[in-house]
Amino acid sequence: MATEVLKVSDLKVGFTEDKVDVPIVNGVSFQLQQGETLGIVGESGCGKSMTSFSLMGLLPSGIHWQGGEVLLDGNPLNVTSQKEWRKIRGKKIAMIFQEPMSSLNPVYKIGNQIIEMIRNHETISKKEARVRAIEMLTLVGIPRPDKVVDEYPHQLSGGMRQRVMIAMALSCNPEILIADEPTTALDVTIQAQILELMKSIQAKMDMSIVLITHDLGVIAEVCDRVIVMYAGEVVEEASVADLFDQPKHPYTKGLLNSLPNINNEKERLETIEGVVPAPADMPSGCRFYERCPAAHEKCLVQPEFIVVDNQKVKCWLYHQ
């Protein structure tokens, strides 16, 4: 059986308003197996990025932990200790971000940024670190790596910068890579290159990946298992094939049906009426209630997860 590298239970993260805790991420739980790619999909404001920031200990100011537990290789993390996070970040868990333009420092050479990261975690000479940096750049398919190592980020294109970000993230051989919308800012032809690269590197390094995206196409392309988030909560968890073949939660169904798809011609797209409620203004029952085509009285009470056909779903429809 595969080993469990990461386990998140009942994660709660949010802000405080008038001395009341308002969660943005409300009780998210999942596990990640060694070598697996877990997708987290949801629309803007569903808390998927906040979930990923929590796993790196990188919460924005004003946002804090309100509860939950993170087990890394079976050991609980002291989530409030910055010292502990600094040891883990980059070494055990590394992250790549959506915006390759703004996540590299524009005034440092690319090589120096990678070397800094390596020397933060390992006792190694500058020279050796530089050799490793060039190796990493080669690994991610950057042409002329021995030249690029001395160039600045602005000299590279968006796709190349994302490759540099990946090289940097992988340079300390992390167990887990968190990729937060890694291809959203890129064109489709470049997106295809980067996804291909992530797949091949994962196979080589036996790494586990958490991929956060709003794009179900990207999910179909690279993930093994998926969790669907809505308004700060997980509403469904399934293997990627099950999710596309037999989505259970009305929200997942709505998402899949509202996608235009070149293999499936339809005159009109299905829509999900209405908008996501604001965090301070969440209904006490099911959070999808107001937009759900299958809503009924029971839904005014929060449903529990139930397992149906190997899928976990949080919806009253499946409770007998």
């Binding site: 392309e221 499936n264 908008v275």
Partner: protein, 325 residues
């Protein structure tokens, strides 16, 4: 045969980036196409291909460097500024960013009414009725018209943007990435509204997008742009089932799968789009083309009718050239 509503001939927009002949950025380079009345024409391409510049130069929010834009038998590229301003009653634009394109200090009613005042149409009362009418068409309530833009979500704001474009009763709407800032569930709401308008009022659209799935769903005919040029124009079914240009083929193959079990033959393009300030010689796609021939480096292809209603700009399909190879 239906007469085209708008016909674009050899449209160019060059920017000077320095002094001398070699410092010219050809954002739009000799683009020609037509759109029939009631048709939805899609322009698709990656970032920096010039599709937005092209859209804006059609209605002269950006002044084109050269070329003709015939709208119902009149070359509007030659109109003096004052007449052009009036002409914009007939052609309106919906912008990509619903947050930046609405004045935050105006109430929604005034935002939608403003084009009517600008074009001196109707009385106060008739304008009010018209605003209510279009608001209803895009699904905004009368109560919402008294609010300010910040009180609306992205999808709602895009409805306001569409209502504003619609209010002067235009013949053509240029929609520049109108749904790319929206979530999929909201995107489908906005696409459905535009489709309804197209069907009910025979409204013509030029729809600019980078998203092939959306373009496939929404458009009747599609033009593919690469580095300022149209490389292929065809009916949507033809383009998606029988793409001719190697760039179109690569774009389609780069699309993520729509189902995890779908098997997909991938042509992954190597390298990046070259800089438009220094485009490659010959065919501008030759640096990334999987089917490149020696002649592509020196000879630029022209957009030619290859099959009925299917134009392509590629030397693979230019017979004389192939014979000489």
């Amino acid at each position: 045969m239906t007469k085209p509503l708008i016909e674009v001939k050899h449209l160019k927009k060059y920017y000077e980036t320095g002094h001398g002949k070699n410092h010219v950025l050809k954002a739009v380079d000799d683009v020609s196409f037509h759109v029939n009345k009631g048709e939805i024409f899609g322009i698709v391409g990656e970032s920096g291909c010039g599709k937005s510049t092209m859209g804006k130069s059609l209605i002269r929010l950006i002044e084109p460097t050269a070329g003709e834009v015939w709208l119902e038998g009149e070359d509007i590229a030659q109109l003096p500024a004052k007449q052009m301003r009036q002409k914009r009653q007939d052609m309106q634009i919906v912008f990509q960013d619903p947050f930046a394109s609405l004045n935050p200090r105006m109430k929604v009613f005034n935002i939608i009414e403003e084009p009517l005042i600008n074009f001196n149409t109707g009385t106060k009362q008739s304008r009010k009725e018209r605003v209510y009418e279009v608001a209803k068409q895009v699904g905004l309530t009368e109560k919402q018209l008294e609010r300010y833009p910040h009180e609306f979500s992205g999808g709602q704001r895009q409805r306001i943007g569409i209502a504003r474009a619609l209010v002067s009763n235009p013949k053509l709407i240029i929609a520049d990435e109108p749904v790319s800032a929206l979530d999929v569930s909201i995107q489908s709401q906005v696409l459905n509204i535009m489709k309804d308008l197209n069907e009910r009022f025979d409204l013509t659209f030029i729809f600019i997008s980078h998203d092939l799935n959306v373009v496939h769903h929404f458009c009747d005919r599609i033009g593919v742009m690469y580095l300022g040029k149209l490389v292929e124009v065809a009916d949507k079914h033809e383009l998606f089932t029988n793409p001719k240009h190697p760039y179109t083929q690569a774009l389609l193959s780069a699309l993520p799968k729509s189902h995890p079990n779908e098997s997909k033959q991938r042509t992954i393009l190597h390298g990046d789009v070259p800089s438009p300030t220094n485009p490659p010689s010959g065919c501008t796609f030759h640096t990334r083309c999987p089917n490149v021939m020696a002649i592509c480096k020196t000879h630029s292809p022209q957009l030619q009718m290859h099959e009925p209603e299917h134009q392509v700009s590629c030397l693979l399909y230019e017979e004389e050239v192939v014979v000489h190879k």
